[in-house]
Amino acid sequence: MDNYLIIGAFYVVLIFTDLIPAIREKKTKGLFFSIPVYLITLIVNIMIVMGVQFPAITTVIQHAIQSMLKIP
């Protein structure tokens, strides 16, 4: 529950201070990047808070390097 609130507050702050002013000022180029990032990260964050397990990025990089350099 705590994490839902934290994520919610974080997004509310950023949406009100960044996204809404950008939409008002019609900064379309920036919005092409910002809106998908906001949506995708929001979905990922909700999934993380719900307990969905994602592979750790460091483990993925570590396995990739181990297989590339043939490190046991």
Binding site: A9, K27, V37, A56, I61
Partner: protein, 373 residues
């Protein structure tokens, strides 16, 4: 382009703070133990050629930042691809930094507080600083003196708890291990300063970049060595048992009976340095995106990058041990961004400079030829 908002001293402070931002994880090494100070010296020496490369690049393209140099050297398409690679690197580095500081606060102080809330505050403050401009990061970096004072104070205050025989025997580790740890030291944190080249367009083109980097490197190496010696001299062989040896070493220090708990100073120190490093990473990623999207103002991307950082931070690793195991692999994975790409850019820049000077001289000789005259 250039606004010349950052002074030479401020740039030195940014570099110093950027490098000491990794002090939280790079204050000791379990492979070389008491010989870590030797590795720090070798890392600094290994970094000298990279400084020369940075200096040459800035001299060839005065007033341009890292991304503009990439475009000028490789052309728009390849330049933009390299910029995208640097953006990913900056975001990943910032998310690693956020995670380690969130974990640091949870482990040493606030065990019940969710890491996410610490990270959210850190990211929001960083985003606010970055949106106020690079000169604001530079102004924050003026607290370098505080960092140096705190480190020197903890070193001298801890004298009575130090056992300098812990530093012996010198060169106990074999040379290949020392070289390996030095190479990791070169990548983490020294090589990460490639991202500071994004701030270069904000300082005067006539400033001597080599001098700025060298001064910051000397200060940084001295401070790292002082910290490494303090930690080993106070904690002895148990230094490597702790995730945050600086914090543990300083927690032992007390002056008489009533002045104790100095570790809070270390917390302040690490957070201050980490914030500067975070701001530089966030600035680099926002500036890179504005460069790709051809927007004059990078601020439009700061919040998006901040969101990406906080999301990636949660996907980095499950526990602290996993992170410390990852450090050597992290160093290997950073080689392309920190060593290969700058060298490739430098070679490309030299070729372009020779070609353009060749074209200019041939044009002048054609203009001065007897047929023409």
């Amino acid at each position: 382009m250039s606004n010349q908002k950052i002074t030479r001293k401020q740039m030195q402070s940014i570099l110093f703070m950027f490098w000491t931002g990794s002090l939280v994880v790079a204050a000791s090494n379990k492979e070389v133990k008491q010989d870590y100070w030797i590795c720090l010296l070798i890392s600094a020496l290994l970094f000298l050629p990279i400084i020369c490369i940075y200096d040459r690049l800035i001299k060839l393209y005065p007033g341009k930042n890292l991304f503009e140099i990439n475009d000028a050297v490789f052309g728009k398409l390849v330049g933009h691809i390299i910029t995208a690679i640097y953006i990913m690197y900056a975001i990943l580095l910032a998310s690693q930094l956020t995670k380690i500081f969130a974990v640091f606060i949870r482990v040493v102080n606030m065990a019940e507080t969710p890491e996410l809330i610490t990270a959210a505050f850190m990211v929001l403050v960083g985003a606010l600083v970055v949106t106020r401009g690079p000169e604001n990061i530079a102004r924050l970096a003026k607290y370098t003196w505080l960092v140096i004072v705190i480190i020197l104070f903890t070193f001298f205050a801890g004298f009575k708890d130090m056992e300098f025989s812990n530093m012996l025997p010198v060169m106990n580790s074999d040379f290949p291990t020392i070289l390996k740890v030095s190479a990791i030291g070169l990548i983490l944190p020294l090589g990460e300063s490639v991202l500071c080249l994004t701030l270069i367009s904000n300082i005067r083109p006539e400033e001597n970049i080599k001098k700025i980097f060298l001064k910051a490197l000397v200060f940084n190496t001295i401070i790292y060595i002082i910290v490494a010696i303090r930690n080993v001299a106070i904690l002895g062989p148990s230094t490597n048992m702790y995730y945050f040896p600086s914090y543990e070493a300083v927690s032992i220090i007390s002056l008489k009976e009533f002045f104790s708990r100095f570790e809070v100073l270390i917390g302040i120190n690490l957070m201050l340095n980490g914030s500067i490093k975070f701001c530089v990473c966030l600035y680099a990623s926002s500036l890179g995106l504005s460069h790709i999207f051809k927007l004059p103002n990078y601020k439009a991307f700061t919040a998006s990058c901040a969101i990406l950082i906080i999301t990636l931070m949660q996907l980095l690793y499950q526990d602290l041990q996993q992170f410390f195991n990852f450090i050597p692999y992290g160093a290997i994975s950073s080689v392309p961004y920190e060593i290969i790409l700058p060298i490739a850019t430098w070679i490309g820049a030299e070729i372009r400079a020779r070609m353009s000077s060749g074209t200019k001289s041939s044009k002048t000789s054609t203009n001065n030829s007897p047929e023409k005259t």
